[in-house]
Amino acid sequence: MSTVAFITARGLFGRRRALLLLPLPLLLIGLAAICRAYDVSPDMWGQAVIVGLGLVVVLPVVALIVGTGVLGSEIDDGTIVHILTKPLARREIILAKYAVAASVTAVVSAVPLFVTGVLAGSVKLGAALAVAAVVGALAYSALFLLFSLVSRRPVLVGLVYILVWEGLLGNFVSGTKNLAIGQYVITIADKIAPTAILESTIGLTTAIVMSAIFTVLGTVAAINRLGSFSLAGETS
């Protein structure tokens, strides 16, 4: 593991906000387990828990906490300077941080989604949700990493993206569906394991291609922005 990745991971789990990663996945598994224990038909709760909570809330929020945590926090407290004053290609720094963000998000969201999918239907559904979560983690992480570099308030910008762009506009304006990572995730899961729970609105190819575009463009833009990183002037 590169030193940048090591420091990033230590910083991520050394902060109290890492604890924020726990409750949502636990809630997801907990709700599914309760429904299963009381023998409620997955048709009744599947969509609400898996889509409404798992894919629409848990995955993007985990990605937001992690994605802004690997870079935004270091910019916030100024420790980023210690990494930037090294003869490292900015690409190397962003890729290390991206690798940490994407893999942590993937694990923290794919594992509970897999468990929930198994509880709601089959191992196949669980696996489909896990794969979709990994794709979502790759795309969201690139986007939120970029937000950390274009705004001083990346968490706020990220929440606006999740709540307004994906949540609100996605339901009313059909065009935004093609530009919402959440829709790609639902589509990919649905195409792998078609059930009544998931309802895809766009084509699989679109979902895969657009996820790749978000991932690559987000990362490239982040590398470019980091190259021009400026420190604020006089503090007094």
């Binding site: 910083g11 100024g78 210690h82 004053t85 090294k86 003869p87 006089e234």
Partner: protein, 316 residues
Amino acid sequence: MTTQTLPAETPTTTGVVELSTVSRWYGNVVAVNDISMSLHPGVTGLLGPNGAGKTTVLHMMAGFLAPSRGTVTIDGKPTWRNPAVYRDLGLVTERESVHGYLTARQFVTACAKMQKLRDPAGAAQRALELVEMTDAAERRIETFSKGMRQRTRVAAALVHEPRVLLLDEPFNGMDPRQRMHMMELLHRLGDNGHTILFSSHILEEVEQVAGLVQVIVAGRLAASGDYRKIRRLMTNRPHVFAVRSSDDRRLAVSLIAEKSVAGIEIEATGLTVRASDYGSFTRALPRIALDQGIRLRQVVPSDESLESVFSYLLEG
């Protein structure tokens, strides 16, 4: 605003760090205005009042700010968007930010690794020895005092033995002992051939460490060169005193004959005396008062703030 730069010692050779007609503005605000300077091995002080543009200059040198106009180079290579310069450059920012969850040794070793040094552990050990932090090296940085953190940050900035070390207000918030320690360290590094630039708004700090100074006032280079010459210019400026006595009018008559007095105004509240030489005037005043049998009620130097020293320099 028109300013005159005091006769500076124009360097005959190209400096390690070169600023050439550099300006930086934020919107309509000009933070740095047409500054050229060369830095050579040894310790140089960057002196100026708060808000003069010192940090902006340091950030441009360190590649963390693009000059709006002009060029900033280290060894002839531009610093903006050029991470390769960090092989020869160390930066200690004013903001006290460290990865508190690491121990000093972990932190300095991580910096050595990111510099891609062949022996990171050995380099970290040498840097920690240099700043005398080996005893506390296994403690987490968040448990350190301000001075210890500062020294750890200096060790991290020095671990790759850069030719150039930039420090922004390194003495801020340090107690006198820590301050002395840091000054010794900078001296030692300067003597070893490093090119060191540190910023400060306190004249005495610069006096004790740097032989050469660059004085920045309101974004412009007001003076540059040997500290003693600039100091003399500063001390030879007219000093203004507010004087009240038992007989202001008679005192004024006697004072005007004194060589060190450049001018006197008599006001209802007392005398305003402009002295051309601080030392001779303050010695002459009590003698004259005693000779004349005048009782001095108040002698207050009215322009002793650093800002007035700087503005005097600016008037050139």
